[in-house]
Symmetry: C2
Subunit: 279 residues, 2 copies
Amino acid sequence: MGFPMSLRLMQAGFDVRGVDRDERTRKRFTEAGGGAALTMAEAARDAQALLLLVVNAAQAEDVLFGTDGAARMMPPGGVVLLSLTASPQSAAGIGARLAEHDLRMVDAPVSGGVKRAADGTLTILASGPSADVDAARRFLAPLGNVHEIGPLHGQASTVKLINQLLCGVHLVAAAEAVALAERAGVDLRVLHRVVTASSGTSHMFASRAPMMRGDDRPPTAAINILLKDLALVDALGTSVGAHMPLARTALELFGEASSQGAGARNDYEIIQYLRLSVP
Amino acid sequence: MGFPMSLRLMQAGFDVRGVDRDERTRKRFTEAGGGAALTMAEAARDAQALLLLVVNAAQAEDVLFGTDGAARMMPPGGVVLLSLTASPQSAAGIGARLAEHDLRMVDAPVSGGVKRAADGTLTILASGPSADVDAARRFLAPLGNVHEIGPLHGQASTVKLINQLLCGVHLVAAAEAVALAERAGVDLRVLHRVVTASSGTSHMFASRAPMMRGDDRPPTAAINILLKDLALVDALGTSVGAHMPLARTALELFGEASSQGAGARNDYEIIQYLRLSVP
C-alpha cells in the first residue's frame, strides 16, 4: 500500500522518502523518482509529515520511538499520519508521546486496497485536533477521500475497528455461503452474479467469493491481519460492554486457522476451515 | 410486493387479476385498472400464467391445491411462477403436483424490495425445464432481470436461500456494528458514511443501519420472515453437511427475538436484542 500511495504523493509534487526492508522495493522506489531510506530516522529527518503504514501499534511505537526512531528526527510541528488498525487507546497513547516531541498526529486509518491506493481513491478516516487534521489535508488529499471523524485520537481507530468487524464477519459469511453452495451443487459463477445483484451482497462477498472458487488469486490481506483486527474489535467490545456474537464467532474461526498454521495465507482461504469441519 | 409487480405487468399490456385478503388493497388495485378477485380460483380461471407471491410453501400449497385452489382452474399448459423463499424440496414437490394438473412451473424467487418492484428492476431467479423458463420470460421480463439458474425446480430456491443466509448474517453484523458504535460513542451518521465507502459495507448495512439509529423507518421485512428463511438455510446446510457457524448464531438470535414476542416487528429491530443482552 505504501508504494502506490507514495507515487500519488510524488505526482502531487511532494518530495517523498520511503522506507522498506526489502531492497528490491527500495530499488523500484528510487527508479520511480522517490528517495529510498534504510532507517526511519533517515527518512524522517526534516520531514514535514510522516505517513506511517505499519501493521500494529508495537511496530508504530518502534519506528517512532525506538532506536533510530523517527520522532527525534522530525522538526517541531511536523505531523505524523498514523495509518494502522490499532486500539483507540494505542492511537491516543502514540499521539501523547508524539506531543512530548512537539509533533502533531492525525489518527488516520485507511480502507481500500492497492488498486484504490494507486488511483488515489482510498477512504481515509481522520481524527485529532482540527488544526492538525487541517494541516494534514494537503498530504491526505492526493490519496483519497478524507472523512473527518472527531477531535480525539482514537476516534478514527474506533470507526476503523467497527469496519473491520464487518469485514471479518462478512468474509466468514461469504465463506459459509460459498461452502454451502459447493455442497448443494450450485454453480459458483451463477451464485456470484445473483448475490451481487441481490440483498445478500457485501463488498467482501463481491471481492472474495471469486477467489474462493479458485480463479483470480491476487494476494489479499493475510488471515493473521484479520485475526489481529478481530481481536482488537473483541477487546473494544469488551471494554464498552457490547454484545457481538458474530464477531466473536468469526474471531474464533480465524484463531483456529492461525493456530493450525494458516496465518500467513490469504484471508479468503478461511473457507478451508468451513469446508473441512463438519459439525 | 405483489401490487407494484402487478402494475408493471399491466403497463406491459397484460390483463392482470389480483387476489388480496385486504379489501382496501383490492379497491386500490381495481382503481389502478386491475381485476380484483376474492379467491385464487376466481383469479386463476383461464389464466395463462399465475404469479404466486406468498410467504411459505404451506401457503403456496393451500392456494394452489386447497379448497378454491388455483390449480384446477388454470388451462392445461399454464405456467405458475412460484415466487417464495422455500426449501428446494418444497419447490420441487409443488412442481411435481402442478405437473399432475398439466401445469408448468418456474421456481422463481425474487430479491429486491417494493421500490425495485415498482421500477421493474427486481433480481429474479428462475429454474425449471428450459422450455418452461422460456415460456415464463415474457411475464418476468417487465419485473426485472431474470437469472436462469438451472433445469431443476429447487435450484433457484437453493440460490435464494444462500442469499438469505447472507442477508440474515449481514443484518445481525450491522446490528452488532451499530450497537458497538453506540456504546463506543461513535456518531452513527459518520459510521454509515465511512462504512458504505469502505470494505465493511453490505447491502443490509447500507439500507438498515440508518433505520437502526432511529431515522427513516419504512416497513421492511418482519423478523419472523428472516427467522423462517434462516431456519430453511439451517435445514439445507444440515442436509448437505455444511458448517455454518454464523448462520446458526444469527438463527438463534432471530429465534430469541421471536420467542420474546418481536416476530412481527421490522427486521432491523433485531438490534434491540444486542443492545439489551450484555455477555
